[in-house]
């Protein structure tokens, strides 16, 4: 098939200087000259003693400094030259299959399409990164981080957006990779060292983007077998790798993006549309990608958007399915707490500055009861509204001598596991909506929901709403 002129115009040109700025910039930059100037005063100045009587560098010292800096200068130049030195191209007989000149015949690929898909994908990745970092920071707060207890729905929204965006960007990512696929087989595969670095950074970007999406999907499907590592930390550190590689990629490609999106470039694509011609137009590709994202969103978002629940036939959760019409993430049996939780000798141990309380369920029931409506939000992206009844955590904190600064460590009856304990920071600990709940939907808590009592606080991830409470330790700060 013969390439259309449009294809030639839009095909990414590997020899364009501004697609490869790093090597070019290195060549022109002369940092060592600056160092030389600052280190060696002008030659006509005579050496002067400073007020402390120290001798200024003598001319021979200056000369040796200059020689040294010139040596460094030369070495840097040689390195830059080596980096930019063209590598011998591989023999042409290897230029076959996808490496062939006419291997990719689709006329739909264009820099404009790639840039548009890339912009949307970049935005989606940034949304995922920010919401993902937020979720991480709430669970492992760095010293500067502060997270409020209101609005109660905030984490529900940010984490829902995180997972929904992650799913919706799958079609975008695949289309973007398809649009630049011929560049994978660019000839020669490596022009010089700078080109190799650029290609390596693109490989890191592609691999880390696919990694994030794949592990995210496996996680919401709770299928941990194919992941030979702990999902949470892998997804977290790889997110930094992906966002870093994305920033580098945008930095390198910025001129191409600007040019291909500027109106001055004629868009030869035309608007034939999907319906009227056999060939897909750029807009048809974008429409197809948007449709795929829309279908995926509609089919799954019902796990957190209640009015979509019946439409979302592929949602990993349905908010109304579970014991007491609420989903469960960890069962009492899996947590190994059944015997301790159902023991008649169960006591909630509350420790604070003024002493320790050992409360039975009857003791808790005798305290002032409060009924609150709070959603439970899982890090996996599902959430569901629920009505909880129990004792205010703030009341318990006051009883054991905690003040307004007090934060509380909630520990579960579980003897192991990453999420057996959580810290309730001051904003949540003193929020009147935060309860040690004994009832859900006006019934005693089901064993899988944390019987005999559990923590429920506004605007916190589900893994921090500690179930099967064993103790509360209050510390004034």
């Amino acid at each position: 098939m013969v390439r259309s002129p449009q294809n030639h115009l839009n095909e990414p040109d590997d020899n364009e200087p501004d697609t490869l700025p790093l090597g070019a910039r290195l060549e022109h930059a002369a940092p060592v000259e600056l160092v030389t100037d600052s280190m060696a005063p002008p030659a006509e100045e005579s050496p002067v003693d400073d007020p402390d009587g120290n001798r200024a560098p003598r001319p021979d010292v200056r000369a040796s400094l200059k020689t040294a800096s010139m040596a460094v200068n030369g070495r840097v130049r040689r390195t830059v030259a080596w980096v930019n030195q063209p590598l011998p191209p591989p023999p042409d007989r290897f230029r076959r299959g996808p490496f062939g000149e006419r291997a990719f015949t689709s006329t739909v690929r264009s820099q404009r399409l790639t840039s548009q898909l890339g912009m949307a994908l970049g935005a989606a990745f940034v949304v995922c990164f920010i919401t993902g970092y937020l979720s991480h920071a709430i669970q492992h707060p760095p010293p500067w981080f502060w997270w409020p207890s209101r609005p109660v729905w905030l984490y529900r929204v940010t984490q829902g957006v995180h997972v929904a965006t992650g799913l919706a960007l799958i079609p975008l990512l695949l289309a973007k990779l398809w649009s630049v696929y011929p560049r994978l087989f660019v000839w020669p595969p490596v022009r010089d060292a700078a080109h190799a670095v650029e290609r390596g950074s693109v490989a890191v970007l592609v691999a880390s983007a696919l990694f994030q999406v794949t592990t995210g999907v496996l996680n919401i499907a709770r299928w941990y077998g194919p992941m030979p590592f702990f999902f949470t930390t892998a997804h977290y550190w790889n997110a930094w790798l992906a966002i870093g590689a994305l920033l580098v990629h945008i930095g390198v490609q910025l001129p191409v993006i600007r040019r291909s999106l500027s109106r001055s470039v004629p868009d030869l694509d035309g608007v034939p549309g999907v319906l009227r011609s056999g060939r897909m137009s750029r807009r048809a590709v974008i429409g197809t990608v948007a449709s795929a994202s829309g279908v995926l969103t509609l089919a799954t978002a019902g796990q957190t958007v209640p009015w979509l629940a019946n439409v979302s036939v592929l949602a990993p959760r349905r908010p109304s399915i579970g014991p007491q019409r609420l989903p469960v993430n960890k069962s009492a049996a899996a947590a190994g707490v059944v015997r301790a939780a159902t023991s008649p000798t169960y006591r909630l141990v509350v420790t604070g500055p003024s002493g320790t309380l050992r409360l039975s369920l009857a003791d808790l029931a005798a305290m002032p009861q409060h009924r609150v409506s709070l959603p439970i939000t899982c890090v996996e992206g599902w959430s569901a509204a629920a009505v909880w009844t129990g004792v205010r955590l703030a009341d318990l904190i006051r009883t054991v001598g905690g003040d307004a600064s007090a934060q509380t460590m909630a520990q579960s009856l579980q003897t192991g596991g990453r999420y057996r304990a959580s810290v309730v920071a001051a904003p949540h600990a003193h929020d009147p909506l935060t309860l040690v709940a004994t009832h859900l939907m006006d019934e005693p808590l089901a064993l899988d929901h944390g019987y005999p009592c559990r923590l429920i606080a506004p605007n916190r991830p589900g893994v921090m709403q500690t179930k099967w409470l064993a103790s509360l330790t209050v510390v004034n700060r």
Binding site: W178, L184, R222, W223, F229, L241, L247, G278, A299, P316
Partner: protein, 147 residues
């Protein structure tokens, strides 16, 4: 601007690597292997298959409907691939029936049915319009050139 983007990007990547090296939960070897695996699976297997299928469609599908068939096939393939872990249901545990509570193979069939229902409706509408246009054209030409 560009230098700042590249610099921030490199800092983030270095942070990721240092973080991965110092976090005892991370196995760099296994994570690295998975990174390579997804890259190879996509670049060497999935995408070539998708492009191949696209090429076959271009050969055999009628030109009039090629675009929409291709679009529907792309959407179907992407949606199927994205929800495959749910459909396989390997993450189900007997002690948590509320996790993955739906019949996902059935759900996928419903979604695919909806996509292809739209395709059939669009093609039907397109054909109907074509036929009407053809009839109108014939009538006009008979009026203008009576035998």
């Amino acid at each position: 601007m560009r230098r700042a983007l590249v610099a921030f990007g490199v800092v983030a990547m270095v942070y990721a690597i240092v973080g991965g090296l110092t976090d005892s939960d991370v196995s760099l070897v296994k994570q690295g292997a998975f990174l390579v695996a997804v890259l190879v699976a996509h670049d060497a297997i999935l995408l070539p298959i998708a492009i191949g299928i696209g090429a076959v469609i271009s050969q055999f599908a009628p030109v009039r409907h090629r675009g929409i068939l291709r679009a529907a096939l792309i959407v179907s393939a992407i949606v199927t691939a994205s929800v495959l872990p749910l459909v396989l249901g390997r993450g189900r545990r007997p002690d948590i029936p509320s996790a993955l509570p739906l019949d996902y193979p059935r759900g996928l069939l419903i979604v695919l049915g909806a996509i292809w229902g739209v395709v059939v409706a669009l093609i039907g509408w397109q054909e109907l319009r074509r036929q009407r246009q053809a009839i109108a054209f014939r009538r006009r030409s008979t009026r203008e050139h009576p035998h």
